[in-house]
Amino acid sequence: MAAGSAEERLLNLIIALMHARVRMTKDEIRARVAGYEREDSSWDEETAKRRKATFERMFERDKDALRKLGIPVVTVRSQAHGDDIGYRIDPSQAALPPLDFTPAESAVVALAADYWRGAALGADASQAWVKASSQIAHGQVDELPFATTSSRLSDAAAALVEAIQLRQEVAFDYASASSGDARRRVQPWKILLSRGADYLVGLDLDRVAPRTFRLSRVASDVRVTGEPGAYEVPGTLPSGLTHSSDVAGEALIAVRPETAHALRAAGTDAGTDGDWDLVRVPYAHRDDLRDQVLALGGAARVIEPEGLKDEVLGFARAAVEVCRGS
């Protein structure tokens, strides 16, 4: 067979493995599938060995390409032939299920595929869109008065999403407000998307306990450190980890009249203190409330807890020092 392109060979390999009655061994694939170089009886031993090694490398690359394509290749070991391995593709297992997207759904799936543009999952997302659009009739995609862009969805999120899928342990540097950067080793379970803040929930392998991490504070690349399928993700997450149900404390904040409406909306009225209105605000993450108070400039004053007040003052003093010093 003439040496065609890699895609021609892959296509022939896919068809051959789909039609294999039981399985095809590597030798059968080499001898029968178009695109691979067949063994030639006129080769000397040296050449035959070299060509076989070339074939083996090519076949490994092709198996990898099939995996990237999302095609499950079944390996079948034959008892009659000792240890040799054969391969097969189950067409019904490999096929894209019919999804019957409405024109509005098609439009939003196209947008979703564009969401990771420029990020690590960008190429995968556009592949996914080609697959989805294989079933969508041309022109049957709505125009939506809706658009999306993201600069936030980081490579870290992409790596974690894949690690969760494959159940692989990961390691990354994490910027913690209290202890600075530290290396964390985690079995990732789930990513929680919550009001513009994304969280990773997983088992912290050093603390041997479930933890929540803010994705925005992952300060390094996410490195995959474990083998696939190394652990099970619990069916239900331990309570207290999900952001929504987690109230860590309550603060009493004085706010200027006609300001701080978001704090007022999140809290309850607690009377007045001179010119100031008092609001009692429950919070899940003290960092978030501290940032809100700082963002209000002089329009908000923390009364309690004392720790939050100290943090706010510490931040303000640090800022003054840097701005005067630099």
Partner: protein, 306 residues
């Protein structure tokens, strides 16, 4: 990489077969438009399919097309040799469903995002991305905005801005957008007499106003604020999160520190964000931004000195 190019072309080849099996004979030009490639590329793809097949590779073993239709530049597959599009790889599923989940989480996405995600989840299983605590972009406000956008009607809204000032304004709504995980309304604000991008969860009420939309949508996606200068900030690595997601930020790593350059459109907002990482700040330029950060910090100190 050659391997990735091969993977992407095979995905399209399988897509073409799936499309023809689902929708019947199709002109080359329509396939080209549908898959976003040239007609020449579609022809090359079809020729490649035509010579592919089962081992043996004699006539009945090959993928086959109707020859006379082919001459009319119409693809009509008569024997696909069992080829169909294949399901999503783990990364593809994660990319698609993760993005849909992120859009749903903004509260701005059309209902179709939720139903498309449900169909994908039913077909290929969950991918470990979950939306919690969806912002209360309440349905009444979103419905009012959706209706006004399609009717090309202005709306009167009550809005609480980033400095938490409440205003009532009439805006011409153009579209809803999701930017970095939050939902926004792109509109022309008649009060400011300029384009604005307003956060949906800061809109407290919305009702149709008796004014037609007259200003065209802004052509650019996202914040329509124009940047007025470029800031340079040096911070320790632990504070990096506060600057790396700013639009068009450029980061240089310098040992344990990071130098970030980014365009500033709203100085007050940037000053607030820098204050939130004050212990990690090392230097701020230009002088005007430094003064804004300092003034804000002094205000915080003064408020607590009561």
């Amino acid at each position: 990489m050659a391997a990735d190019r091969a993977v992407s072309r095979v995905t399209r080849l399988l897509g073409i077969v799936e499309y023809l099996e689902t929708h019947g004979a199709t002109p080359f030009s329509e396939l080209a438009a549908h898959f976003g490639v040239t007609v020449t590329q579609i022809e090359a793809d079809l020729f490649l399919l035509w010579v592919s097949g089962q081992p043996g590779y004699s006539h009945g073993d090959l993928v086959d097309f109707d020859g006379s239709a082919f001459e009319q530049q119409i693809a009509d597959v008569t024997n696909a040799q069992g080829l169909r599009q294949v399901s999503y790889s783990p990364r593809e599923a994660a990319a698609l469903m993760g993005a849909l989940a992120a859009l749903v989480a903004t509260g701005a996405a059309p209902d179709a995002a939720q139903s498309a995600l449900a169909k994908l989840t039913a077909a290929v299983g969950s991918v470990g991305v979950e939306v919690v605590d969806v912002p209360e972009v309440n349905a009444v406000i979103k419905d009012a905005l959706d209706t006004s956008i399609s009717a090309r009607n202005a709306v009167e809204i009550t809005y609480v801005d980033a400095q938490q000032r409440r205003t009532v304004r009439v805006v011409e709504p153009h579209r809803l957008v999701a930017i970095d995980g939050a939902g926004y309304l792109e509109c022309y604000c008649l009060r400011a007499d300029d384009y604005r991008t307003l956060r949906l969860d800061r809109i407290e009420s919305a009702r149709a106003a008796d004014v037609m939309v007259t200003h065209p949508p802004a052509s650019t996606l996202g914040f329509s604020l124009h940047s007025s200068f470029t800031a340079t900030v040096r911070i320790t690595r632990a504070g990096r999160w506060a600057v790396e997601d700013l639009p068009n930020a450029q980061l240089e790593i310098d040992g344990d520190e990071v130098v970030a350059h980014f365009p500033v459109a709203d100085q007050e907002w940037i000053a607030g964000r820098l204050l939130a990482i004050a212990p990690h700040l090392r230097s701020v330029t230009p002088e005007s931004l430094r003064a804004a950060v300092e003034a804000r910090a002094e205000d915080v100190l003064a408020a607590h000195a009561v």
